[in-house]
């Protein structure tokens, strides 16, 4: 990032970054600091401020079965959604890349789901999978209770994963297609000259060269599933039935805003932050490698 040609001024750069710094200070650094503050303190019941309690809040959440259940739920959701979304997107991109002539039109046909808000998707999928009005209503008419995400936790999770993957497919697809199109054309042509057919070229050349994009998307999809899933869960299941879909973000929201347990919610936030930072660090190390790779 070192550049030779720069301007010099003692004051101007500060004025230029000031608005951004102020905003991130108030809405990023301060709240993050507060989260740490709350996580290690407890509000006194009759006033008198917050008292330092060390790791007590963390011990409490790690000792709670409900917390571990939300961790398991989050992992199930994150890995289910990511795996589904990545595999489908990869297949689509490989096929579309073959069809160079029409790939532009296909791109529009496949990218639009990313524009749809989680609440709208949640609402639509909730209707589609509604036991009384949705696609499975016929099934339920024959065998009452065969499909009911409002009562069956597995059904609810499946529905959630499908909705989440439906949204992410479009995003992943864009990246896979960009990755495929950045593979130098002569490489493909060389393989064709060497006698490799289209399917063989996909397997031997395109898929291996997509490895960086693939790992990048795994990380991004997981991060997204951990943090960005609130809207879907809140609209579709509200964490139910019987906490079967209470993922970590939702539990933070429920404990913090409904249970008014700020310290517990803050401690959970810290754990989630750790998880997200870990994923981000992996991503940056990987992005670093991608640079060398090219």
């Amino acid at each position: 990032m070192e550049r030779r040609a720069t301007f010099r001024s003692p004051l101007l750069p500060w004025l230029l970054v000031l608005p951004q710094l102020l905003i991130i200070f108030v809405f990023f650094y301060w709240p993050t600091g507060e989260a740490f503050h709350w996580a290690f303190t407890l509000e006194q019941p009759w006033g008198g401020g917050r008292q330092w309690v060390g790791w007590q809040n963390f011990q409490e959440i790690f000792g709670s079965a409900a917390y571990w259940s939300s961790v398991r739920t989050s992992l199930t959701y994150a890995f289910g959604t990511s795996a589904l979304a990545i595999l489908i997107a990869l297949l689509l991109a490989l096929f579309i890349d073959r069809e160079v002539r029409a790939s532009r039109g296909w791109r529009v046909a496949l990218i639009w789901p990313y524009a749809i808000a989680a609440p709208a998707i949640g609402m639509i999928f909730r209707f589609v999978f509604d036991p009384r009005a949705g696609v499975f209503s016929t099934l339920n008419a024959l065998w009452p209770g065969a499909w009911d995400p409002a009562l069956n936790g597995t059904h609810a999770m499946l529905m959630l994963i499908l909705a989440g993957a439906w949204q992410l497919v479009a995003y992943n697809f864009v990246f896979f297609l960009a990755g495929l199109q950045s593979i130098p054309r002569p490489l493909i042509e060389a393989a064709a000259m060497d006698g490799a057919g289209p399917l063989r070229r996909m397997r031997d050349i395109q898929v291996p060269l997509l490895a960086p994009t693939f790992f990048f998307l795994v990380v991004i999809n997981l991060t997204d599933s951990f943090t960005n899933s609130f809207g879907l869960v809140d609209i579709m299941t509200a964490g139910g039935p019987a906490r079967a879909t209470e993922i970590m973000v939702y539990k933070i929201y429920a404990d913090g805003f409904k249970g008014l347990d700020y310290s517990g919610a803050a401690a959970q936030s810290i754990v989630l932050m750790g998880l997200v930072i870990l994923l981000t660090v992996i991503q940056f190390r990987f992005v670093e490698r991608k640079m060398h790779y090219r």
């Binding site: 720069t6 301007f7 608005p19 990023f28 709240p31 709208a120 997200v276 992005v287």
Partner: protein
């Protein structure tokens, strides 16, 4: 390349067509539901072909959701976030890339780190800040003893207060507090040839003049990409508006949409709800379809 694989071509098209259809099915069903009356939408088996009540349902959803005001609110928020983000991002990236100053690396990292933690994971304390955006400064004054000092000197007790709940700044500002745009702009600025900066210097242009005359016009594509991404991002926000708008009249389209389904076991009027969902998802959908090129570019470049 000459390559004749008719069967593979057919197969390719079938796979693509099936996927496009699979992606479309849920939305198609929603559309069909929005054209039914209450009996039609709850009939078993589900209807696959549209009925004739679309206009009624849309009108009813529009009325029931109070979408006239909600759309205005959502639009102001989305445009506010988009414009705010672009302006802040451009200025900050400009300072980071085109100036040599001692604190540059420090500032760069301070902004960079915000990429790591999305709003959702620090939602509870951010909400507390929204209740009083000046609380951080008050806390600093208290901690440094300045409050006491000012009180003894002037007799005025300093109590900074700026409540952001149910306000546009409250809806907009926290959504701007990330570095996505700054990094998009930084990447773009790094591609500007150094000689262009030097030519401008030789021509007598100062920093701001260079920003305005050269960088702003050259960054139009970056701007379009960022604008598309940010508009969609802001319009689709759910959690934050849900928290920060405690008064129903202040809520956004997405929050209102979620309220169209009764909590508890009541049977929702799916035809109206689906009509509402269609209305709510229309603006970002239109933006993405119309600005498809910029949207894709923005997505790939910000890498989120």
């Amino acid at each position: 390349m000459v390559e004749r694989r008719p069967w593979l071509d057919v197969f390719t098209h079938i796979v693509l067509l099936l996927s496009a259809v699979a992606l479309l099915v849920p939305v198609w069903l929603a559309l069909v539901a929005a054209t039914q009356d209450v009996a039609g939408v709850n009939s078993v088996p589900i209807h696959w072909l549209p009925g004739g009540h679309l206009a009624d349902n849309l009108a009813e959803a529009w009325r029931r959701g109070g979408f006239a005001t909600r759309f205005t609110t959502s639009l102001i928020v989305a445009v506010g976030v988009t414009v705010g983000k672009i302006v802040l991002a451009m200025l900050a990236a400009f300072a980071i890339v085109f100036f040599s100053w001692r604190a540059r690396v420090l500032v760069f990292w301070a902004i960079f780190i915000t990429l790591m933690l999305p709003l959702e994971v620090r939602i509870v304390p951010t909400y507390a800040v929204a209740a009083n955006a000046l609380a951080p400064f008050q806390a600093i004054l208290d901690a440094t003893g300045l409050t006491g000092l000012i009180e003894t000197v002037s007799g005025i007790h300093v109590a900074l207060q700026w409540r952001l709940l149910n306000s546009y700044p409250g809806l907009i500002l926290p959504l701007i507090a990330t570095a996505t745009g700054t990094f998009l702009y930084r990447q773009f600025f790094l591609t500007i040839p150094e000689e262009l900066v030097e030519a401008a210097k030789m021509d007598g242009a100062g920093a701001l003049r260079f920003l305005w005359d050269v960088l702003v016009p050259l960054s139009r594509t970056t701007m379009a990409a960022l604008a598309t991404i940010m508009f969609v991002y802001a319009w689709n926000q759910y959690l934050w508006p849900l928290l920060v708008t405690t008064e129903p009249e202040r809520s956004t389209v997405m929050v209102e949409l979620s309220r169209m389904v009764p909590r508890g076991d009541g049977l929702p009027e799916w035809n109206i709800v689906m009509a509402g969902a269609l209305l709510a998802m229309l603006p970002p959908l239109a933006v993405v379809v119309l600005m498809q090129r910029w949207f894709v570019r923005g997505l790939v470049q910000t890498e989120k």
